[in-house]
Symmetry: none
Subunit: 221 residues, 2 copies
Amino acid sequence: MNTVLIAEDEPSIAGLIKLCLSQSGYECTVAKNGLEAADLIEQKDFDIALLDIMMPGADGYELLEYLRPTGTPAIFITAKGELDDRVRGLSLGADDYIVKPFETRELVARVETVLRRTGRGGKMLYAFGVEADTHAHTVTKNGEQVHLTPLEYTLLEQLMRSRGAALYRDILYSRVWGGDMEDDTRTLDLHIKRLRQKLDWTDKIITVYKVGYMLKSEDMP
Amino acid sequence: MNTVLIAEDEPSIAGLIKLCLSQSGYECTVAKNGLEAADLIEQKDFDIALLDIMMPGADGYELLEYLRPTGTPAIFITAKGELDDRVRGLSLGADDYIVKPFETRELVARVETVLRRTGRGGKMLYAFGVEADTHAHTVTKNGEQVHLTPLEYTLLEQLMRSRGAALYRDILYSRVWGGDMEDDTRTLDLHIKRLRQKLDWTDKIITVYKVGYMLKSEDMP
DNA sequence: GTGAAATGTATCTGAGTTGTAACAAAAATA
DNA sequence: TATTTTTGTTACAACTCAGATACATTTCAC
């Protein structure tokens, strides 16, 4: 699971970012100001940092200096008004920037893009002869390519990332579809069925009644 | 991997603790003072917290209050001189305490003990040959899988988490069913019966007359 | 636009889960 | 011991949930 540092002094924004990234499977830590962020950077190695430019303590530009030696990529967050020349000429080091207010989807997409571009998002996941390339979004089983649709792939990735643990239907849904699950709809079940079919995984993806689905871990009976 | 919060203002001690716990496979985060620790607690769910009692910002006792709602167990760290009455009478909530200076071996051992005791070491719960995997929502007895319905499982988990303590009927009910218990209904009793049956635990789940139910602890006759 | 692929909806079904009602047993109380 | 209160048991009906199927809709490349 990729780790994200969110440096944002406005709690509501920080909370929103944390929420939607968490739901997309990222592990988030929030710093309320620049100093806190600097501390965290020195303590832990994050995969990516989201930095509010205007912050008490240390602003985003200073934080970039802290990040540089670690090689952690960064995305600037900026309010519309602040989008001045300083920001525009931001070849100064950030990998991308996002303007508030932003679409949560866009946020997630940008984080993913930066992670992929900087080679931090690409990882291989394995389970029961199935190999998922999180960089290329391709899947093979016993060496042979299996064609999955984008949704199927995302679903599989989530299951593989939480190997051996049951994922609640609504959590799984929100991670894959990115919204709340409608009351009674069979969408999730349908895609699970398709996954099971394509991978021949009827007994590997377990339905946990009234909870959700789980991908067995190797050692489970 | 289990996560540890280390709240300790003396950097050398904090570093030492972090070092030896990291080597034992724990993921450590250090807070330099009470406030920082409080922030981290609200942000992240740690598996265990090591708290220095004397700290600027908020002391260990205050931090315990932050931890209580999350259910995170805590170990107090205290200098020899501080081992006064306050500390001695620390039945006040911490799960254990360690006196500085300490042997690193002892530290690791105590952390492990507390984690196991609180059922967080790998998120497994054990009792009388029964093993509950809180991630997978599965239960085995003497290695063999036992099928429990969702309600039965939740009920079991509650009992196992409060091992050796009687749980009031209404509390147990509200934890499992999530509402107030109707006046006269046999629902709870029925599910207790089913649990007893499936696990062959007639004598392990004790009915405390006029109170509720209790799962025996290993050392009870 | 057309067609193929991807995704979603509607509905049915059967299995599995759960609560109720009615009564039996046990424990406390008198 | 008789009575009341509390807990255990049984059988069954009602219900909920996930699987399946068929079809509708959307998306995308050409």
